[in-house]
């Protein structure tokens, strides 16, 4: 079942001769249980794609569909509700609120959405346990390491009924080992039934995805998916 669909999406900034085509006709589907990485040089449209997928920006042409809802047909309130309920964001700068504890940060989107404080907290505690941070729920962000903060952000991104997680360079400031553990976590969350889009310039991180999409000048120039049998690859390699 597809959670995210971009249908011939264009995004043009400006008008006339100075117009910049940030996206020039992108079609992309991400199913439940699928992680798609988006790579490409600076200015190729990666962040624009993520913003459109998350309903933070509107396409100039084409449609964005999240969990069956065409974003362009939503009024602002509906769109805001959809963003809160269905879509989780993980950014490089984590956007955790410094004055709230880990568990309060994770519970916040639910509370904003009208879930009772006690219920939201219980759900947030469960979400933190799932990312192995159950013991640190009462810590403030500045009492957590970078990797732990990113785990809190992932727990928050996928709490409640959220089915789509959008990650923009989520391992940016982390060392390679901690970065890898964050990707493992994202991978396992997606394997659990969410759909994920990961924007990265790092091939090693993109390799955790099921498909890697290359953008250049606002269009998809190539898509790479994994081979069927990894062991066959190794046998070939060794025989060389």
């Amino acid at each position: 079942m597809s959670i995210l669909e971009l249908r011939d999406v264009h995004r043009v900034h400006g008008h006339g001769e100075t117009a910049v085509h940030a996206l020039a006709g992108v079609t992309l589907t991400v199913a439940a249980g699928e992680l798609v990485a988006v790579m490409g040089p600076s200015g190729s449209g990666k962040s624009t794609l993520l913003n459109l997928a998350g309903g933070l920006d509107r396409p100039s042409q084409g449609e964005v569909v999240v969990d069956g809802t065409v974003l362009g047909e939503c009024d602002r309130r509906t769109l805001a509700a959809l963003r809160r309920r269905r879509i989780g964001y993980v950014f490089q700068d984590l956007n955790l609120l410094a004055s709230l504890t880990a568990v309060e940060n994770v519970a916040l989107p639910l509370e904003l959405d009208g879930v009772g404080v006690r219920k939201a907290r219980l759900l947030a505690e469960t979400a933190l346990s799932e990312v192995d941070l159950g013991d640190l729920a009462e810590r403030f962000p500045d009492e957590l390491s970078g990797g732990q903060q990113q785990r809190v952000a992932i727990a928050r991104a996928l709490i409640g009924e959220r089915r789509l997680v959008l990650a923009d360079e989520p391992t940016g400031a982390l060392d390679s080992h901690t970065g890898e553990s964050v990707l493992r976590l994202l991978r396992s969350k997606v394997d659990g039934g969410a759909a994920g889009v990961l924007v990265t310039h790092d091939a090693r991180h993109a390799a955790w995805a099921d498909r890697v999409v290359f953008l250049r000048d606002g269009i998809i120039v190539d898509t790479s998916g994994p081979l069927d049998e990894p062991d066959a690859l190794l046998a070939q390699d060794g025989a060389r």
Binding site: P41, H201, A203, A207, D231, L233, A235
Partner: protein, 189 residues
């Protein structure tokens, strides 16, 4: 790296016979370096000839275990402490292919870069899937072997990105064929 040093390293753990060596070698490298049993025996007989290992009496099952000698230990220690030289590795076919693609008329260099990047990316995904399968402490040796391949593939993708960015600014000079005198021309004149 040679199979030779790998086998010496395994025998440093204790005496083993050919089939055991093969199994443990493949386990240690996470199956990334399959060995056939013939290779193992050929290498063992060379190591024995060079007095780096010594054959022990056959066991009950008829297998002949080998043990490492003092000279073998010295050889192994030297291997561990000597850095691997880049010049010992084969020339990079991909770099050479791209250099030729740039200077050969009618070649779409971007397409060459893209095809390679897609293929390298797929390889990288496969290595990552193998890594994702296991996170046990006991798997660390072979996970590090996999990581080596992961980082090499990543470096290749980064280099290909760099090539692509350089191509954007590249205007090919007119192709020329250097004029060379055929060999021996002078003497025949």
């Amino acid at each position: 790296m040679s199979v030779r040093h790998g086998l010496l390293a395994l025998l440093e753990r204790g005496p083993m016979y050919g089939y055991q060596l093969r199994v443990v070698f493949e386990e240690s490298t996470g199956g990334t370096w399959p060995l056939n049993i013939g290779q193992v025996y050929t290498t063992l007989s060379r190591l024995e000839r060079d007095e780096l290992v010594r054959a022990l009496p056959e066991g009950d099952g008829g297998q002949r275990p080998y043990e490492i000698t003092a000279a073998g230990r010295a050889e192994l220690a030297a291997w561990f402490t000597t850095p691997v030289s880049r010049s010992d590795r084969p020339r990079d076919e991909l770099a050479i292919k791209l250099a030729f693609a740039l200077t050969t008329p009618g070649v779409d260099v971007r397409a060459v870069v893209q095809a390679q990047r897609g293929a390298t990316m797929r390889t990288l995904q496969e290595f990552t899937r193998l890594k994702a399968r296991s996170d046990e402490p006991a798997d660390l040796p072979w996970r590090l072997v996999l990581d080596a391949m992961v980082f090499q593939a990543e470096a290749e993708v980064r280099w290909l990105d760099h090539c692509e960015a350089s191509l954007v600014r590249y205007t090919p000079p007119p192709t020329t064929v250097p004029h060379l005198e055929p060999e021996g021309e002078e003497s025949r004149r």
